[in-house]
Subunit: 242 residues, 2 copies
Amino acid sequence: MSTATISTPLSAPLTNTNVTSLVDRRLLHETVIDQLRDLIVQGELAPETKLNERVLAEKLGTSRTPLREAIKFLASEGLVELLPNRGAVVAPLKPGKMKEVFVVLGALEALAGDLACRNATEADIAEIRGLHYHMLAHHARGELAQYFRYNQQIHIKFMECAGNATLAQVYRGLNAHVKRARYLANLSRERWDKAVQEHEDMLAALVKRDGARLQTLLRDHLANKLVMVMEALAIPRVAAER
Amino acid sequence: MSTATISTPLSAPLTNTNVTSLVDRRLLHETVIDQLRDLIVQGELAPETKLNERVLAEKLGTSRTPLREAIKFLASEGLVELLPNRGAVVAPLKPGKMKEVFVVLGALEALAGDLACRNATEADIAEIRGLHYHMLAHHARGELAQYFRYNQQIHIKFMECAGNATLAQVYRGLNAHVKRARYLANLSRERWDKAVQEHEDMLAALVKRDGARLQTLLRDHLANKLVMVMEALAIPRVAAER
DNA sequence: AAACGCTTTTTTGTATGCAAAATGAAGTGA
DNA sequence: TCACTTCATTTTGCATACAAAAAAGCGTTT
């Protein structure tokens, strides 16, 4: 997402006394945004965790100012909730919210699929096929984490093929929410196999450039994912809806 | 969106020396977010305007800190762009970006229309009908600003009827972009009439609860809106695509 | 022991200070 | 005239300071 442009040593002015300048090209509050987002998405900061500014700033090695700016940014993304005069918490993972997000994601992915069928080059399709087979391999070996990795990449590649950066951005934002739930999921082999079969069908539809079919496949795929997440959410928690 | 809870004078402690406390229940950086967003959406801060922190903070009557937090928030919404070490600018209104946004908005509104056909109560429909007739009246009198007002309200009400807060939130964010273009638009009577006719059809579809039809109507409606915006964007500017 | 008032501590929200980077204005030489 | 330095000014990015609000103790009373 971010290709840091590092000034070449040769072209850099010699007045540069600071050695670290080769490393910290990025702005502090931007790295803090990414770090904090990762902590939340990876589940290290669990939903509803209070974000203590002093502690977090220390943990991330900055002062409170850039941290607060990062928190505001992520609040707009919806990953954290602001409580006036009481700071911020990691956005809760309510089943109702998940349901809403999946409905929207379904529409967005369907749109992306339709666009991808029109715009994808043969090279794009070849790349997706490659990712698909990697995914199949990890599925066969039961390597869940790696499976998820390629699964995500395929969906992201679909978005890229759609050629609509705005669509991709909105997708990423909502997807971040959903990814948090993944770490709770206890995927049954049966459901897992089904999801893989759905991916087979999706790839076939893309190859045939059957946009209408791909749309419905994606919508169904998302609906099934939702069911899985809901099950995972229902088991370990007391009941987060409120 | 924000219903400020004002503490009743009677329950307020008498140690309170500050008279303004009755007003500023809301957090400063939150009001700054709203103020800044308004300035951008209303076009007072034109696209590509540089946001000078010192000047803006003074204008909004705060220090730079809450302003910077607001800027980060709106950057995540996409209304401002962050330029590392060079501050922030109001997000440019590129035709390409508009096109992308309208495609996504089309999908979101179509989804909302479909959901609304299932979920809207008779009272909801009555309210939309009311807004619709207000809109017709302003259209007949050629009152563009008022027309837009009710037009917006109808679309927002559709979103509400869909009963998906996440959908509504994403919609609002993207819609803010589009609203900025409105002030540039020079609506021809012909296009205006057409848009009104489309609204007639949409209302009819909702009444019949014909979700499929409403979806296509909304998609077409958005596509037509895009054409209008593109024309408006093409005329007054040098050529913003880059 | 639960409910309350009170004080102390912690935490948040905002303003200010300071250093680094960017911008702009002369000035110099080709 | 134009390019290129150099230096002063402005502006941004981050850290810190301070005030107000919330939370946590802690006796006291019932």
